[in-house]
Amino acid sequence: MKRRTLPLLVGLGLALAPLVAACSDGGTTGGTTTDTATTADTFTPSDDTLPGDDTVEVDTTPLPEDRALARVYEVDPVTTPELTEVELAHLEKPYGALVGPYARVRSCTLDLDRGTRSTLTFGGGGGGQSIDIVSCVPESKAAPGGDGTYREIGPPTSPATDDGRFAELMMYHHMQAIHDFYKDMYGLTDRDHPLDAVTNIETWVSDCDSWNGVANAAFVPHEALNYFATGLDLGSVSGDAILFSGTGDKNFSLDASVIYHEYTHAMIGATRLTGVFLDDQGINNLPGALNEAYADYFAASTTNVPELGVYSLNDMVTTDFCGNPVEDDTAVQNYARDLTAARRCPDDLVGEVHADSEIFSAALWDIRTEFGKLDGDTIVLYAVLQLTEESDFTSAAATTIQAAQELFGGEAEKKVRDIFEARNLVDCRRVVPVERVGDRDIPFRVEGTRVLDPNPYPGYVPGYMQIGFTVPEGTSKVTVSLGVAAGFGGGGGTVTANGVFKPGSDGVRYDLGFGVGTATNDGAITVALDNATKTITLEATGGVALTPGPWSMALHNTGRRTLRVTHASVDFE
C-alpha cells in the first residue's frame, strides 16, 4: 500500500480531473444561518486593560512534574526549530486524551478495514466510471508517558513514522492559546465548547490503492457535517470542525500559524464574511477575501511573525495524485503569505480570496505596526464584530477607521485612514491594469450563466474585476487579446463573451434594476469577442480618434461555462 500527496494550490478538483474527466462549475460562496444567539462577557478597553507596550514578564519558576507538560514548536519547525516546553491548558486529571472544555483533538488512523467506504460514480447512464474511497478513522492517540506528562512525545522523524501523536499535541496546545486570547482579552465565549479538530487526514482511493493526503487545512461548519444520514467518516464529529491534512513531507498540524488561521475562521463563524454579491462593478467576492485576511492577521499577530505558513506553505514540491501529474511546472514553490508585502488595490486583485486577502491583511499589519499588538488587535477585532456577510474591503476599511476613532480618538482615526488610503482600500474600484491580468499565475475568472441563477443581468455574467488600460493620443483602434478558455482547466469549448468599453478609470457601472434580466450598464460600446483569435476590437467610426487616457473594459460571459483568462494585452493603432 502506498501513500501519496497532493500539491498546494492545485486543488483536489484539478487532481481528480484525470480520473473523472469532468468539467466543473465555478463555485460561488454562500452563507449559512443559525438561530443560536451567543453572548459574551463585557470588554471595555481602558488604560488599565490596554497598556501601551506589550511587555510580558516570564515566570521562570520550574514547573511541577504532575502538570500536563508537553513539548511543542512555538510556531513551526522552520521558524522555531527548538521544541518549547509548555503546559497544556484546561486539561483535567487524570490526563489522557487531549479533550478539554475547548477542544477535542484526534488524529486520523489509516485503516482500510475500519474506515468508512463510499463510492464515487462519474458519468452516468450505466457508462460511468466509479472509484471507491475509504476515509481514515479519527482517534485520540496522544497519552502521558511514564513520568505522567506528554514530554516524551516528539516530532515524527519521517512521514512514515508520523503516528499523529505530536500533531495532536501541537493542535491542542495552540488551540488553547488562541482560544484564551479571544476569551481572556476580549471576552469572546463563542468557542467555549469542545471544538473538534482532526489531524493527519488522508483518504484511500481504489484506483491507485493508496492513501492520499492534501496540502491543506480547513474550517467546516457543523451545518455541512451534521446532515449526512449515513455519517460516513464524520459521524463522530459533532459540531464545527477544523480539519488538517498534509503532504508527504509536511504535516500542516505542525504549523501554529495554520492552526490559528483555521481557529480564527471558526471564531468569525460560518455566517459572517461568506457572501458573494452583486454591486455596481460586477460580482463582488471580497467578503471571502476579508475572511481570509482576518484569519491571517490574527494568526500572524499571535505568532508575532508576519508570514503565514513559513513551514507548511513554502518549499512545496509538485507531486502527483494516483500517478497522474497535476502540474506542468515541477519547480519548488513558495506560497507563504506575507503581510508585509507591498500589495495594493486594485493592482494586486486576482479574484481568488486567499491571494486578494493579502492586500487587506497587509493594511491590518500596518495598523498593528503603528499601534502595537494589543491596541492594533483591539481596533481590528472591534471592526470585525460589526461586519456582515456581504462586507467588502470598502465596508471593512470604513468600519475599522470608525473603530479607531471610537476606541482611541481622532488622531488614531487619521492614522488608520492613512494606512488604508496608502493601499487604496478606502474606495477601491476593481479595475485591474491589463498587464496585471493573470499575474501571480492565477487566472482571472468570469463565471458562466449556469452559476448565477436567478440572473439579474440579461443573458450574461460580469466578472469580479474589470480590465483597465490607457489609450494613447491619436488612437482609432484598440485590440484586446485574451488568453481565455471556457470550462474547467481550459478544457476547450467556444468562448462566447462581449467586451464592454467605457472611457475613464472607474469602470463600467451596473444598475441591477428589479428582478431577473433587468440589469443595465453605462458602457459606451459593446463588442463581441472573436472566438477564433480571442480578441476584442474597439474601433472608432468615421476616422475619429478614441478619447485618449484611461479606459475600462468589462468582460461579459454569455456562455454557460466559467471563463478563465490567463493573460491579456492591448494593441493600439
Partner: protein
C-alpha cells in the same frame, strides 16, 4: 423552530396574496438621505449601496431603543426602521457580543425563511442606544412557487448533476442575487470525505441548481465535479 417559522411564513404569504414583495420605491437617493437625517439625526453618516439604493452603513447614531435584551432592542430598531433600511420580511438575532456595549448580528428572513447572505449588524452603546448599523439589506422580490419539489427530489437533482458521494438533509432558504430571489433547498453535498464538502442550492419550484459553494473556509476542492452529461451541455 424551522417548522414554526415555515408555518408563519406560509401564513404571511397567504395574507399578502401576491407572489412578489418589496417593489422598489421610486424615491430618489437624496430623498432617502433626507428621510434618514430627519428620522435618525442630522449628523448621521451614510454609506450607500449604489445597487440597492439602501444604506450599507449608518454611523454617528444615538437612537434610544426599547426591549428586554440587546438582541430584542436591535431587532425592534431594525423592524421600526424597515423602510429606511429597505427590509423586506423580518430579522432574527443570531449573535450578540458584548464589546463596549453590545454588537448584535441579525439574519434577514423572508416568509420566515432565512435569506442567504443578508444580515444586519446593530451596535448598541452602554446606554442601549443604537450608535451604528452595518447592513446587507435591500429590495427583494421572491416569487411564490406554484409547486415545490421535495427535499428528496432536491437531493436527487444534486446527485444527477454532480459526482458526489453523498448528500445531506436539505434546509429551506431564500437565494437572492440583488433583488431577484428564489426559494431554494440548501443541500449539503460531499465529494470526498472531509476534504470536499459543498452547499448546493436547488430551486424549490423548478429543481434547477441555482448556485454552489464550498462549505466553510479553505476547502481544497473549490468546484464540484460535473457528471459527463452535464459537461457536454
Amino acid at each position: 423552530m424551522l417548522l414554526r417559522t415555515l408555518a408563519a411564513g406560509a401564513a404571511a404569504l397567504a395574507l399578502a396574496g401576491t407572489a412578489v414583495a418589496g417593489t422598489p420605491s421610486p424615491t430618489t437617493l437624496a430623498t432617502r438621505e433626507a428621510a434618514i437625517h430627519a428620522r435618525l439625526g442630522a449628523d448621521v453618516a451614510i454609506r450607500w449601496d449604489a445597487m440597492k439604493t439602501s444604506p450599507r452603513s449608518l454611523r454617528n447614531l444615538a437612537v434610544p431603543t426599547a426591549g428586554a435584551t440587546p438582541a430584542d432592542r436591535a431587532a425592534r430598531f431594525v423592524r421600526g426602521e424597515r423602510d429606511l433600511l429597505r427590509l423586506d420580511g423580518d430579522v432574527v438575532a443570531v449573535e450578540t457580543r458584548a464589546f463596549r456595549g453590545h454588537v448584535v448580528r441579525l439574519q434577514q428572513t423572508f416568509a420566515g425563511v432565512p435569506v442567504e447572505g443578508r444580515s444586519v449588524v446593530v451596535k448598541l452603546d452602554e446606554g442601549a442606544r443604537v450608535t451604528s448599523v452595518t447592513s446587507d439589506l435591500g429590495p427583494l422580490s421572491v416569487p411564490t412557487p406554484a409547486t415545490e419539489i421535495t427535499p428528496a427530489e432536491a437531493q436527487a437533482a444534486v446527485s444527477a448533476r454532480y459526482a458526489v458521494a453523498a448528500t445531506g438533509t436539505p434546509t429551506r432558504v431564500v437565494v437572492a442575487n440583488a433583488s431577484a430571489g428564489r426559494f431554494a433547498w440548501k443541500v449539503p453535498a460531499m465529494v470526498m470525505p472531509v476534504t470536499g464538502l459543498f452547499w448546493v442550492w436547488v430551486d424549490t419550484e423548478t429543481g434547477r441548481v441555482l448556485r454552489t459553494a464550498p462549505a466553510g473556509s479553505d476547502q481544497r476542492l473549490t468546484s464540484l465535479p460535473l457528471r459527463d452529461a452535464e459537461v457536454a451541455r
